[in-house]
């Protein structure tokens, strides 16, 4: 699936001409903001995309999924990156009309730890008990039950989490509310009511830093950051009862076992499948279906096509998982739904 940038460009142009839009995006700038989870992908994708589309400038600002959705709703950006879809009330307030969701990647959320065991296996109820501080020692019977035969130390558990509101926290707590719903009491959200004897770090990197420097620490961290910090991570028990290591392949496997709605929204959390990694997050690029500026719309379509098609091969290199084939096909097809409409047509 590795293609040269020439081919990538040819494909993008082909896609556009076939949909009847002549490519005429001289000096177009596209602005996006939102998900920090997908920022590394946006960065490498923008760099590659520029090679074939020298006249298109793309800026991706990050700032968090919530900010991205708000910016798009207020029409201050051309596209938003978000790890969760708009809520219905939120979507109704979007000033530019109907929205289109383009899934761009899947990402395993690793449960990293710093304690003297090489292999650690965890099930959802055990993770829930650890993170809400029902379990405070590493040699607790619940952890021992997940790790038969392992020698667990009598060390205090230190729980670390994100200080700021975060899509990763949202997906991690959604996983616990789904897979351990009888045990988990803190519900799900971008910020939850963590017990006050836990530690908070700024960003994935800040949390990783706490785990690295604190004996007995455990935390949820995006796989790419966990790997960058050289942390050990646990294998997690999935719905099929198998303990799965967080890898790009296991996240793609989770993508195979999900139910996708017509608007391409879904949740990859606790997916079916023998090889699926259960704590898998997803992220979308969200745009308005109706665009007012033709040149901008063409550039946007070319970039969207690149993100869901040729750009996908860049993902494993930065520890993210590409979309499964069926989902990818749907996303490529959906690019055609981005239409240019005159101002008058925009009134709903």
């Amino acid at each position: 699936m590795i293609k040269t940038s020439h081919l990538a460009g040819a494909f993008a142009v082909l896609a556009l001409t076939s949909s009847g839009a002549a490519y005429a995006a001289a000096g177009v700038t596209l602005n996006g903001s939102g998900s920090t989870l997908s920022k590394p992908y946006q960065e490498v994708a923008i760099e590659q995309f520029k090679k074939s589309h020298g006249d298109v400038t793309i800026n991706y600002g990050g700032g968090g999924s919530g900010k991205g959705r708000q910016d798009l709703a207020d029409m201050v950006v051309d596209f938003a990156g978000s790890d969760s879809p708009f809520k219905e009330a939120e979507a109704a307030k979007a000033k530019g009309g109907p929205l289109l969701y383009f899934p761009i990647l899947l990402s395993p959320i690793a449960v990293t730890y710093n304690v003297g065991v090489d292999k650690l296996q965890l099930s959802a109820p055990t993770i829930a008990k650890i993170f809400q501080r029902d379990i405070k020692k590493w040699n607790d019977p619940a952890i021992a039950a997940d790790n038969p035969g392992a020698k667990l130390p009598d060390t205090d558990i230190v729980v670390a989490h994100r200080a700021e509101g975060s899509g990763t926290t949202q997906n991690f707590t959604e996983y616990l509310s789904t897979a351990a719903k009888d045990v988990w009491k803190l519900k799900s959200g971008s910020t939850v009511e963590w017990p006050s004897d836990t530690q908070a770090g700024q960003g994935s990197a800040g949390v990783a830093q706490i785990v690295k420097s604190t004996k007995g620490a455990i935390a949820y961290v995006d796989l790419s950051d966990a790997k960058a910090s050289g942390l050990k991570y646990a294998t997690i028990k999935n719905r099929a009862g198998k303990f799965i290591e967080p890898t790009a392949e296991a996240a793609s496997a989770a993508g195979e076992g999900i139910e996708v709605k017509d608007n391409l929204t879904f949740s990859a959390i606790d997916a079916k499948g023998e090889k699926a990694y259960p704590i898998t997050a997803q992220t979308w690029v969200i745009v308005y279906a109706r665009q007012t500026d033709k040149a901008k719309a063409d550039a946007l379509k070319a970039y969207l096509t690149f993100l869901v098609k040729d750009g996908q091969s860049l993902l494993p290199g930065i520890d993210y998982a590409p979309l499964p084939k069926t989902l990818q096909d749907k996303a490529i097809k959906q690019v055609e739904k981005v239409k240019v409409a005159a101002h008058a047509d925009l009134t709903r």
Binding site: A89, E164, G165, S188, T191, V192, E193, Q199, Q202, S213
Partner: protein, 289 residues
């Protein structure tokens, strides 16, 4: 002659109007800020009522928003900062004005004023790297208090120095002429004269410490619902919560964060009013009226 006078008075009028406009604009901006944030904080008060100020739980998924721990954290860290900063600042200010020879005092004054201009994120990062990691203070009320103290020392020092400098030389020379030692002179002439201004300086430092966002957010620990007098515990302050949670907040959560801003706004105004009152009271007393 007349012409020239008319021209000048026209210019004067234009000038006084322009300055009045500038002054009015500041008030207008302040009023607009107050109105907008108050209006947008209404939903959380409809939901929580005054329990917003008394509840110690903050759980966005449950829709429960209690500001008490953050009000406490803001006050606690600001008090730690002031307690640490005031003796040092006053010491430095007295040293610069009463003890140090001018050729030493001048560069020092320059250096301290420079310190006041260092962006707060630099202090915050230094706090994370040096205080919490190198000195193992962790992220706590104390770490935040220490960073805030370092940040307000230049401000309090600078203002105190200027206030102390206004002590009439006659008062000081009188005290010395009556055989007072340097410390007796300071406590009998300099401090009584400067008391009002010094309180004002401390209050301004307190205001800065309460409103400081980034440095506090980086080192305070971001623990929710923490109310304890243990300075080594992680906590949270109002500005830090706003900075941390704004990006991903929705609807009621957003409104709750804005309500925190309103609370902070109100507390800052109250602190400043108290400072003004104290300053006026003490200047009155020192004039003997």
């Amino acid at each position: 002659m007349n012409d020239l006078f008319a021209k000048r008075s026209y210019g004067d009028r234009a000038f006084s109007r322009a300055t009045a406009c500038a002054a009015a604009l500041v008030l207008l901006i302040l009023a607009l800020i107050a109105i907008t944030i108050t209006r947008r904080s209404v939903p959380v008060f409809q939901e929580m009522g005054l329990r917003f100020f008394t509840t110690s739980r903050w759980s966005p998924p449950d829709g429960i928003f209690g500001a008490l721990p953050f009000i406490f954290g803001t006050a606690f860290t600001a008090v730690i900062a002031v307690v640490l900063a005031v003796p040092i600042s006053l010491g430095v200010a007295l040293f610069l004005t009463q003890v140090a020879p001018p050729r030493l005092a001048k560069p020092l004054v320059y250096l301290i004023d420079l310190l006041a201009g260092v962006p707060s994120v630099v202090f915050g990062l230094w706090g994370v790297l040096v205080l919490s990691q190198h000195f193992h203070l962790g992220r706590s009320f104390l770490t935040a208090g220490v960073i805030l103290a370092i940040m307000i020392i230049p401000i309090i020092t600078s203002l105190s120095r200027e206030v102390i400098d206004t002590t009439p030389p006659g008062d000081k020379e009188g005290a010395l002429a009556m055989g007072a030692t340097r410390w007796e002179m300071i406590s009998a002439a300099v401090l009584p004269h400067s008391k009002g201004g010094l309180v004002g300086a401390v209050m301004l430092g307190l205001g800065r410490a309460m409103g400081e966002t980034i440095a506090a957010a980086l080192v305070i620990g971001s623990a929710l619902g923490q109310i304890t007098l243990n300075p080594f515990a992680p906590g949270n302050s109002m500005p830090a919560v706003i900075a941390n949670e704004w990006g991903e907040a929705q609807e009621l959560h957003k409104s709750a964060l804005i309500a925190l801003a309103v609370t902070l706004f109100a507390i800052t105004i109250i602190v400043n009013l108290i400072a003004t009152a104290i300053v006026q009271h003490s200047t009155k007393r020192s004039r003997g009226t």
